[in-house]
């Protein structure tokens, strides 16, 4: 683990609410934006890695996402809602990346990063469950997986997902229901 370099400015800003940080960042305060990056960067990387399948690519995508976010921050209507907004930007870039690279999603790299099996039994069961869910997720068609990820990690509303994917809300509802139902079926052994 790399311990971040000590930075008194950053330490002061760390406890502030998203809306305050966004306000400062819109005005040009890069330290406030860095605090946002440190707050949501890890989640955005994990989310992107689930989509693009490689950590190195995820790092590139998330860098782009923050760059875009910095540029467009003043367009954010509700500064308190910066998290779903970042997730939406990240998701859009991640799926664009996938289409451009025609990468086959292969989460082997990620699974290799999971801890070794020196876990207590309940943790091992939990890991196996997570593994099964991860595998089930991989079997979904891309648009369903995207809906699911936007909903479950991005915490986007149906309307926001619809806007993001340029689909009617009813279609999103259908895709999400199919995604849930198919994962539910595949996870039957784990319930």
């Amino acid at each position: 683990m790399n311990a971040p370099a000590h930075n008194p400015d950053r330490d002061r800003l760390e406890g502030l609410a998203d809306a305050i940080l966004v306000g400062r960042a819109v005005d040009g305060d890069t330290a406030a934006f860095e605090t946002i990056i440190r707050r949501y960067g890890p989640l955005m990387r994990a989310y992107t890695a689930r989509i693009v399948g490689s950590m190195a690519d995820a790092d590139d995508v998330v860098q782009d996402a923050f760059q875009t976010a910095w540029r467009r921050l003043s367009e954010l209507r509700d500064p308190a809602a910066v998290k779903p907004w970042l997730m939406r930007i990240t998701s859009r870039l991640a799926f664009t990346f996938l289409r451009r690279k025609h990468v086959d999603v292969d989460l082997a790299t990620l699974e290799g990063a999971l801890p070794a099996d020196t876990q207590p039994e309940n943790v091992a069961v939990r890991n196996a469950q997570l593994h099964a869910l991860s595998a089930a997720l991989d079997t979904l068609p891309e648009d369903q997986r995207r809906c699911w990820l936007l909903r479950e990690i991005g915490e986007l509303s149906y309307d926001d997902i619809a806007e993001d994917m340029k689909l009617p809300t009813a279609t999103v509802r259908g895709k999400l229901a199919r995604a849930r139902s198919s994962i539910y079926a595949q996870m039957e052994g784990w319930r």
């Binding site: 809306a19 305050i20 819109v26 999400l176 849930r180 539910y184």
Partner: protein, 199 residues
């Protein structure tokens, strides 16, 4: 779907229908679902799935190698290149041939830096309303801030207003007619909360 399809329950309801029902917050309440053991079982399973998925991502976040400092610095370097200048705020100069001005971004940075010196207060967004590009035009300043939970809000707001007025008078020629302060949030750890600091 056939009867062997696990997506259709024995009672005839599909998991898709239940998923929709769940997404709607189980409202309006459907007695046919709420009294059917099969449906209730499936609803519980779907809810657990959402929880499990949260766990999956939480575990991803914990297990993935942390981003390197270079990764952060890469973003920051690019961001520093895109400075937000905003409008141009003229500064008076005795020699009329000299065209001197500050950027709006610099004025906002000034507000932040003096504002942040108020004990227990940190500035949020600042705005200059009015024609800042015309000397003498009335300008309204509005600032949001976050105050430490145990600080007196009126005191902090008062100090902030004073400091902003003094700083703008000293460093700009803006005709400030009002400074509007909104305390938008409280920060800091509330008493009796156990604080875990990771090193």
């Amino acid at each position: 779907m056939n009867e062997n399809d696990p997506r259709t329950l024995d009672c005839g309801k599909t998991v898709e229908e239940l998923s929709d029902y769940l997404a709607a917050g189980r409202s309006p309440s459907d007695p046919r679902i709420e009294t059917c053991p099969e449906c209730l079982n499936a609803l519980q399973g779907l809810t657990r799935l959402t929880q499990l998925f949260q766990d999956l991502i939480t575990q991803d976040v914990a297990d993935l190698p942390a981003p390197s400092e270079n990764w952060f610095q890469g973003i920051m370097t690019n961001i520093h290149r895109e400075v937000r200048a905003g409008r141009s705020v003229p500064l008076p100069h005795p020699d009329i041939r000299v065209d001197l001005s500050l950027t709006e971004g610099a004025v906002l940075a000034l507000i932040r830096s003096v504002g942040d010196t108020v004990p227990g207060l940190l500035v949020g967004a600042s705005r200059l309303d009015g024609d800042v590009e015309t000397p003498g035009a009335p300008v309204e300043v509005s600032v949001t801030a976050s105050v430490l939970w145990n600080r007196s809000i009126p005191d902090a707001a008062h100090q902030l207003r004073e400091l902003i007025c003094v700083a703008l008078a000293a460093h700009t020629a803006l005709n400030v007619i009002s400074v509007d302060i909104t305390i938008e949030d409280l920060h800091g750890d509330l008493p009796n909360t156990v604080i875990h600091k990771e090193h």
